[in-house]
Symmetry: C2
Subunit: 125 residues, 2 copies
DNA sequence: TCCTGTCACTTGCTTTTTGCAAGTCACATA
DNA sequence: TATGTGACTTGCAAAAAGCAAGTGACAGGA
């Protein structure tokens, strides 16, 4: 809805700052995690254990789409229904998530990696 | 100030969710970045280009300290002054930041990695 | 002694973002 | 006709962020 060029470098040219401008909140990377785990539909994201508020979910999906991290496709036409998929840009976030999993494994006792029910090439554990 | 055990697993046992509970906002990892780059003092963090509000900075340093990611030490006693340092737990965040830098390098055109003026073993580029 | 400055914050207040519950709309099924 | 499902939207209270200004301990200089 906005031209994407003007949104960039809101804060600085630092790569970390730019990643945080896109993903620096409590929910966005959890939606990405769900996509990596194989979830594709709004209702599936909404059902995840963390309990994302539905308005926040709708907002995050919109932002991820505008950022080119996911694509929204209709998978049914009669009752119009959508599904979301990671783009290559989105799949390239896997190493970030993996680094987080590694850190938590080492420093947050008791965490449990979720089983995945669809596969991307990288392992995420 | 609080017992740290009760704060954990606010949302789920997912490692990603737990990392986001600690670092899931626009500022915390920027402070960690500055620490990795060699900054140690409150005033130095406050001067970074992104312009973190001072109240937010004070809050983030407190949280990072409570999480065991940084330690606060007095480096002067006559005018009482403090400096902050990453613990091992904090230094272990470097791979997460590196993964972010790699993603931004590939997907956000024009980002520039900051030069570092003090060194940890990992490269961060 | 008085004045100015630095460092490390804190306070007050406005704006923005979250979180929660409920509502909507297009269809499907019984 | 009545109920249900999927994908959202709306309204509103509560929490967090952003901004400017203030504070307190001390240092150095006139």
């Amino acid at each position: 809805m906005n031209q994407s060029a003007t949104i960039e470098f809101e804060r600085s040219h630092c790569p970390v700052a730019n990643v945080l401008d896109l993903f620096g909140d409590k929910w966005t990377l959890l939606v990405v995690r769900d996509l990596i785990l194989g979830k594709t539909r709004y209702g599936e994201f909404a059902q995840s254990v963390e309990g994302i508020p539905t308005n926040v979910l709708a907002d995050r999906l919109k932002r991820l789409e505008m950022a080119g991290v996911v694509v929204k496709k209709a998978y049914s036409g009669k009752p119009l229904r959508y599904q979301y998929e990671l783009t290559e840009k989105g799949k390239d976030l896997v190493p970030i998530l993996e680094a987080m999993v590694a850190w938590a494994d080492k420093h947050v006792p008791g965490v449990k990696v979720f089983p995945r029910y669809s596969g991307y090439n990288s392992s995420l554990e």
